[in-house]
């Protein structure tokens, strides 16, 4: 009986995916748009921050690294709550009217994953810096150019940091549900839809979304891996 039912649910989910159900496609599209935007913003902040931490020596640097590493484990609901307080009508950024919009979801996810990108980038770039330091110093390369050089030459390894950030953003539900509100057709993404459909008992849709989510993460990683292989062959 139970076995049978599971089989039915799986085939319904597959059907939805194959049929290209428009509601499902819209949810998938928004999920990708939100999480990829979050990765972009997290990279803009996290990569230079990680690079700066990798290259500079200052008192308290060790503590800063420990804090940054710990922030990798930020609970999504706490980030969601903090962003909610910032963006709510009475909050400091309430004027912007961003609460319960996709933009708010991007902000929350970017905050969530910026520490992941920064911490992993710091490690990568510090190793590269140890290797390059003497040569770049001998060439008289200044601080800004050093950071740019390390990010560029470490780009294939840094891709891994970005993928870790993307995986985390695509998988989290706590932050986007608080600041996005899971509004049908507007702020509903895959994870919030899965949570909702599961609680409503629509297991076929929930499962279908689950498969799509996993497939997307696999495809994104496969593309990145291919790009890395090709790039490394060319750049050495």
């Amino acid at each position: 009986m139970k076995c049978n039912q599971n089989g039915m649910e799986t085939s319904s989910a597959l059907e939805l995916v194959l049929r290209g159900d428009p509601a499902l496609l819209a949810i998938v599209r928004l999920s990708l748009a939100v999480s990829l935007s979050a990765v972009l913003f997290a990279a803009l902040v996290g990569l230079p921050l990680g690079a700066a931490l990798a290259l500079t020596r200052f008192p308290g640097r060790g503590a800063a690294i420990v804090v940054l590493n710990a922030l990798m484990g930020l609970p999504p609901v706490v980030v969601g709550l903090a962003v909610y307080l910032l963006l709510s009508r009475s909050g400091p950024l309430g004027e912007l009217g961003l609460l319960f919009t996709p933009q708010a979801m991007v902000i929350a996810q970017a905050i969530l994953i910026a520490p992941i990108v920064a911490a992993l980038a710091r490690q990568t770039l510090e190793d590269l810096w140890l290797e390059y330091r003497d040569e770049l110093s001998a060439m008289g390369v200044g601080p800004a150019r050093r950071i740019a050089t390390l990010i560029w030459d470490g780009r294939f390894s840094l891709l891994t940091a970005l993928l870790a950030g993307f995986g985390r953003a695509a998988a989290e539900v706590g932050a986007v549900i608080i600041v996005g509100g899971n509004i049908d057709g507007f702020t509903r993404v895959m994870t919030t839809a899965i949570a909702l459909e599961t609680s409503k008992g629509d297991l076929p849709l929930a499962l279908g979304l689950g498969f799509v989510l996993i497939a997307i993460v696999v495809v994104v990683n496969a593309l990145a891996w291919g790009a890395r292989r090709a790039g490394e062959r060319m750049a050495g």
Partner: protein, 241 residues
Amino acid sequence: MMRAPATDLPVRLDDASFAVGTVTIIDRMTLTFAPGAPTLVIGPNGAGKTTLLRLAMGLAAPTSGTVTFGGRERGPPLRRAFVFQRPVMLRRSVAANLRYALSAAGMPRRQHDGRIAELLALVGLTGIGDRPARRLSGGEQQRLALARALAREPEILFLDEPTASLDPAATKAVEDIVAQVAARGIKVVMSTHDLAKAKRLAGDIVLIHRGRVVETGPAEEFFAAPKTDAARRFIAGELLI
């Protein structure tokens, strides 16, 4: 890039020491590297050759005493260049490594291609500009490192055992380039623990041992009539202890 004051020469160490913790690696050295024939810094493994060159390049600051470049203390390397004992190539093509050095030295972009071709020809790497630099053989990387250093149009070029890991043919190739460079008026300061190499290229000899200058002088005098007992023993191939 600022090119004034225009010169890094002479490089002077004045009573300069370099210590790590309680270990003194360079012990109160006073030396001048001025325009002229190549200076060969010789001494056994661990004598402090690399550390001396790093001080003279400004990559490390003395823990006491001073190092000055054209009379100035510190400041970025303007017309100094360094080829490391184990050079590190950037993760880019051969040509892109040279392009990077040229733009770091402030050369306008439109002059890059011509200069890159010249440099590749000078070190005998013409035709492999597109290859990833890190895939080159050790000898090729050493020559590329030399080209990258020369891209800075240095007045003074530091070479830290540039031929230590090369076979005789590659060694000859590098030494020929160094001789050519020196003939163009670039001051060469090269370290080696190999007396035959020192004889072929010097100019002047600076023999160091355990972080101290043991003897300095023109190469001919140094090899024909060493003034110190330590130098005599080093030339005779005896262990210095």
